[in-house]
Amino acid sequence: MKVGIVAEGSYPFVSGGVASWIQTMMKQMPEHQFVIYAIVPRHEPDEEMKYELPDNVAGVEIIPLEKTETVRKRSEVKLTAEECGILEDWFSFRSTGAGALKILQDRSKVGSGTSFLDSEVFYSIVKSCYRLEDGSASFLDYLWMMRAMYKPVLALLQEELPEVDLVHAVSTGYGGLLGSVLSMRFGCPLILTEHGLYTREREEEIIQADWIPPICKDRWIRFFRQLSEEAYGQAHRVISLFERNRAFQLEGGASPDSLEVVPNGVDLSVYENLRKPRPEERMVIVSVLRVVPIKDVKTMIYSAWLLKKRGVPFEFHLVGPRKEDPLYAEECAELIARLELSDEVFLTGPGDVQAYLRQADVLVLTSISEGQPLAMLEGMAAGIPWVTTDVGSCKELIEGTEADPFGPCGFCVPPVSPEAVADRLAWFFDHPEQLHVYGDAGRERIRAYYQLHEVVWRYQQIYLDAAGKRRETHGGNRVPAAENV
């Protein structure tokens, strides 16, 4: 089967949890062929791939959101009154669904993206949206916001892409939108896996962004919400990594029948016998992460400072790329210098994770937002205890669900609280005999619930099921797309 993976801002150009997951899944399913639809912010010809493409990848389609359309003769917009009505409902968030997307992807109807956004039809849609919303803000700003908002959407919808038998989107947002429209266009099922919650993350960003005028924030939030609804509505299966996110997806409009939880998984054999036999004098703390604000590296550094004040001897390695947000990485380096932690805290850059796991006594993660971090599963598989913040599925991983008998594999603390992190680290220093007790609990939990071959098997079933549905109802009604094509 040919599977199209829709990756927004990740595989194969940006490394991270989702991208690594895609790489692993493709390698684990050699029986399928994959096409990557990589959505990137803008076209950068020399962008280098962070992953070596497995043999079963048939192609990588790069789709820039920001596309400079060459100024050609303006193509005409030919829409019936009924179609204009459908579009107006969609743009004003009164409806979701295939109707509007079907029109917008059709160049013979709306012309090129720019010609549609410059058309009288779009102008009158903007006017009615403006009236429905606030109606007192600067109309010029509103109009330009609308054009900026939908330019990438039209570029995505009108992109010509090679056909596949199954579309698998690994996020909602633009990725989910492209997934929906491809599934409609090719008449094939859409599988949606959400590692985090796109809508929520965008919402937080928008609320914090000071460059968006307050009056426009509401529309941006609703815009991303609508994109998610499109994907939820079109998807045959909506998959989350853990229970908590499943509930959010339900709330976001996904149908209960389509929901499924499939966690991440690791290959236990790789992490066998990695752990060092006994702690040394200096406690070794390791964090595997990208140095970006969402990981809240500064809290980690403050906790190291507090730990030093308590007289605990330790070394703290922050292993991972610093290039993604160089400004933030620079700030972190300055903070380390200012707190005189240069002998204790090391920004090592990307490194061999397994080599660091070999030395580590405790692992730390202080993110302010997470899905189900692969790094945590890896550390647990190696039998090393954790101190993490209570975000995403971290608590579930640390404490286990009600049914599981293994006990905690570390501690969960509230986000942005260096004292709590330092407390827990100090506790491990004071109780070295507990390190392996906690570590073993983590490994057992992985063995029971988070093994890679299990996950792969689940996805193989999901793919087969979707393909079966397609065959059995070819043109029928189980696949929402079929009605519309």
Partner: protein
């Protein structure tokens, strides 16, 4: 989790708030006014000449010489008029007054070069004495100078001073001609004619001096950097150049073609003219003076105020409700003002027609001349209002509409004249009247449609701007060469 979220920031910031609509004043309109003063001066001189004490001279040569300088200076100036106006208007909008002088000088150099070229061709053809030809070159140049000066001064909205300068210059020319007519001038070939042309030139130079005195205050700097940078606007707004050129060429194309038709005369072996037709058209143009005056009053004040308010609201964060109210207000004012202009001009034109017909029955003339004059009035009526419409389209950045109107005007006049030319003098003027009227009706229709959907056009860049090209490269090259 992955996602492009944070990177989106850059993307939207670029697009956001980037395109503000801008209100333009194509006040160049008023520069069209002064040429009527020059034309009136010519007609008055034409009347004075027969009373001269000097007997042996050809008054027709004087009129033909001045008309040629006048017509061809208008056409050359026409090609640059709107380009320079737009360039100056953009500089003033950016509060960059420092570059004004270099634009002024650059525009003069470009026009001067074109004039010189045309004059050299003329010299090959002319059988007149070299001194006389040289005198014509000076007149040609001084007319180009005053047209160009008035572009800058109208941009500064000094309308009355401009009119005063032109009237003073015209009066000087007329006075000097009267002086010449009562003086005994030695009887040498072309001396008297040359002196009258010199009198006219003197008048124009008085105008130029007056205008210069006002201009000096406008230029804070006298630098000559980037003299020809304004030429790059031909690449950016090619429609503006063609609109100006074709409108001005369209005004005179019928005359030029008729110079080669039945009833035309070769004066002093050099100038082709059609005495009756040229006079008929010159006289007809005098009847549209009211439109120019009313335009300044109604469009530049009443309409412009609403227009500026409308654009101001858009740019300063006005709500849709407020913008729409201002738009309706502006649309109403514009429709009202256009109606008023048409009504006023109709009255004047109708009165002129009536008067001409009455005079015809009382004194009797040749009936071909009567029809030339009547057609002339209709043609002048149409092309005056056509110009109003073209300028209003430019106010709303409908450069394509302005361009098309000018193309129709030029082509209709040229083609109809070509077709009707063989039918003889009785139809002279018919092509001018018909061509101008078709162009006027087209432009009015286009303007009305534009006004109906104006909000959409204001918020949407209707035409992609041209990219840097031939003229941009040459503007840089020429500027550098000049500064070496």
């Amino acid at each position: 989790m992955a996602g492009i979220g944070f990177q989106l920031q850059k993307m939207f910031k670029d697009d956001h708030f980037s395109s503000n609509a801008k209100a333009y004043g194509y006040t160049a309109m008023v520069t069209a006014g002064p040429w009527l003063v020059v034309l009136a001066t010519l007609l008055i001189i034409q009347r004075i000449l027969p009373f001269s004490k000097t007997a042996d001279f050809d008054g027709r040569l004087v009129v033909a010489s001045i008309s040629y300088c006048f017509i061809f200076s208008q056409i050359i100036f026409g090609a640059l008029q709107l380009i320079v106006t737009r360039y100056v208007s953009d500089r003033l909008y950016e509060r960059d007054t420092k570059s004004l002088f270099s634009v002024f000088l650059g525009a003069l150099i470009v026009q001067g070069a074109a004039a010189l070229l045309l004059w050299l061709v003329f010299c090959l053809w002319s059988v007149l004495p070299g001194m006389y030809n040289l005198l014509l070159l000076f007149l040609f140049m001084s007319l180009l100078i005053i047209w160009t000066q008035s572009v800058f001064l109208t941009a500064a909205k000094q309308y009355m001073t401009i009119v005063r300068a032109f009237v003073t210059g015209g009066a000087t020319a007329v006075l000097l001609t009267i002086l010449l007519s009562i003086t005994t001038i030695p009887d040498r070939p072309f001396l008297y004619e040359g002196l009258v042309v010199l009198a006219f030139l003197a008048g124009m130079m008085v105008t130029a001096l007056f205008l210069s005195r006002m201009l000096i205050g406008m230029f804070p700097e006298w630098g000559t950097r980037d003299l020809f940078k304004f030429l790059s606007y031909i690449d950016v707004f090619p429609h503006l150049m063609w609109t100006g050129l074709l409108y001005n060429a369209g005004l005179w194309v019928c005359n030029i073609m008729i110079w080669f038709g039945a009833g035309s005369t070769l004066i002093a072996g050099t100038f082709k003219v059609h005495l009756q037709y040229d006079t008929a058209i010159f006289l007809a143009y005098l009847t549209i003076i009211p439109t120019y005056m009313f335009f300044v009053v109604s469009i530049e004040t009443r309409f412009y105020e609403k227009y500026k308010r409308y654009y101001g609201l858009i740019n300063n964060g006005g709500s849709l409700g407020a913008i729409e109210q201002a738009m309706k207000d502006m649309q109403g004012t514009l429709a009202g003002e256009i109606k008023r202009l048409i009504r006023n001009q109709s009255i004047v034109t109708f009165a002129a027609i009536l008067l001409t017909v009455l005079l015809f029955f009382n004194y009797g003339h040749d009936s071909d001349f009567l029809f030339m004059r009547l057609f002339g009035y209709v043609g002048a009526f149409s092309n005056a209002l056509l110009l109003v419409n073209i300028l209003l389209m430019l106010y709303f950045e409908d450069r394509k509409g302005a361009f098309r109107s000018a193309v129709i005007f030029f082509i209709m006049n040229a083609v109809l004249t070509y077709i009707l030319l063989p039918t003889g003098e009785s139809n002279y003027g018919l092509s001018f009247a018909t061509g101008s009227s078709i162009a006027f009706i087209y432009s009015l229709n286009r303007l009305m449609n534009l006004m109906d959907s104006i909000e959409y056009h204001v918020f949407t860049p209707t035409q992609p701007k041209g990219a840097a090209g031939f003229f941009t490269r040459w503007s840089v090259r020429l500027s550098e060469r000049f500064n070496q």
